[in-house]
């Protein structure tokens, strides 16, 4: 019973309270770049969720099975980035084979998931928070992906409406998006302190 509670709390925590995008500033590039249309944003969110689940789980296993027992922590960052690059390659091949239209619409953004800080960030946070059960690592990885998808979809919804707004000329584009993101984090601060 205790583990189930920890898992549920961890999941809600990483989706809402410690949302990687809104409180840890991770994955800001796709968050600003791909949030123009809501369907693209959702597709991106799904791809990131898949990669982060795979990468988070694999890096946790590699860290606990190989690196720590053999004292090879120095190689940690090299291994993590290789695993992430491999996972992205896998997703790219899969999407190209089975969903060609989706592959076309992603374009350059699919390989760019490799340099999405949310993914490497999560792998590092799993290590930093000292997560010591595989199940918890998997749940947190999925939660991070769901949180990212939620944040980028909310942002895309706001930006679709923002196109109709009368924004001062010098603030158009990136500046107003950043300010909107700021107000969004203000809203999410209301959840702070709910857990932990």
């Amino acid at each position: 019973m205790d583990t189930v509670q920890t898992l549920i709390l961890g999941f809600i925590g990483i989706v809402i309270v410690n949302n990687l995008v809104l409180t840890k500033f991770l994955g800001i590039c796709p968050y600003l770049g791909v949030s123009g249309r809501i369907d693209m944003a959702f597709g991106m969110g799904m791809a990131v969720t898949f990669v982060v689940t795979l990468a988070g789980t694999l890096t946790w296993v590699i860290d606990h099975v190989f690196l720590v027992p053999y004292g090879l922590e120095v190689l940690r960052y090299l291994c993590f980035i290789l695993v992430i690059a491999g996972a992205v390659q896998l997703v790219e091949m899969y999407v190209r084979k089975f969903f060609p239209p989706l592959y076309e619409s992603f374009g350059i953004f699919l390989p760019l998931i490799t340099t999405n800080c949310a993914i490497l960030g999560l792998c590092l946070f799993l290590n930093l928070w000292g997560i010591d059960s595989l199940l918890e690592a998997v749940v947190l990885s999925v939660g991070a992906g769901v949180g990212f998808t939620m944040a980028i979809c909310i942002m895309a919804g706001i930006r679709e409406n923002l196109e109709l707004a009368d924004v001062p000329e010098c603030l158009q584009g990136a500046p107003i998006t950043l300010i909107t993101a700021g107000l969004l984090t203000l809203a999410f601060m209301g959840f702070a302190g709910m857990i932990r």
Binding site: K24, L26, I28, L32, Y77
Partner: protein, 201 residues
């Protein structure tokens, strides 16, 4: 190609015309995350300069051996090596700073500025141009970070480098130290830069 004026131009392009943060919108994650105070921002800036210099030098020297399909992988491995060095050095000499920056130092690996410069400059140019480019881009990044951090630190705590600068009647704006302060300040800075470049154009 490598005479003095064009090298100077390459250097200053990184600071203003092609400023990585304000013009190219690269490397936003560390920009927003470490700028609650000037000290961590400065540490982050110097770490990025080191990594940028290391990766640009290595990539520039290897540029004739690089195979197109393995290029990005090579860049990433070079950068990861440089970041590991920087991380270990910080842990050894500035343990407090390393602890407070936490995962944001290893996250330099996925900082788009570094891989972007390796791709756009170092894989096409000689050693000298690559070094100057790395220094210019790094300086542009560090300066932007410090300005943003100075604004936020003064407004959030009334101090700069932990020295009080504001009159005692000043009420600190707590929000400036939080994520919202980072987003809004950077948004307004970008707006200001747009305004200046439009006026001067």
């Amino acid at each position: 190609m490598s005479d003095g004026t064009s090298l100077g131009k390459t250097f200053f392009a990184g600071i203003w015309d092609n400023n990585p943060v304000l013009r190219l919108l690269l490397g936003m994650c560390p920009t927003l995350a470490v700028t609650a105070a000037v000290k961590p921002a400065l540490t982050m800036g110097f770490s990025v300069i080191f990594v940028l210099l290391f990766s640009n030098i290595v990539v520039s020297l290897l540029r004739h051996q690089l195979k197109p399909h393995l290029r990005i992988l090579m860049f990433t491995l070079t950068i990861a090596t440089a970041v590991t060095i920087a991380d270990l050095a910080l842990k050894a000499y500035l343990p407090d700073m390393s602890a407070s920056l936490g995962p944001y130092i290893p996250l330099i690996i996925v900082n788009c500025i570094i891989i972007g410069r390796a791709e756009a400059c170092a894989s096409k140019n000689g050693l000298v141009v690559s070094i100057i480019d790395a220094l210019g881009m790094g300086a542009g990044f560090t300066i932007t970070l410090c300005i943003l951090a100075a604004i936020r630190e003064v407004l959030a705590t009334g101090k700069i480098f932990e020295i009080p600068v504001m009159p005692s009647a000043f009420t600190p704006w707590a929000a400036m130290g939080m994520p919202v302060g980072a987003f809004v300040t950077l948004g307004l800075m970008l707006g200001g830069v747009n305004l200046i470049s439009k006026k001067s154009a």
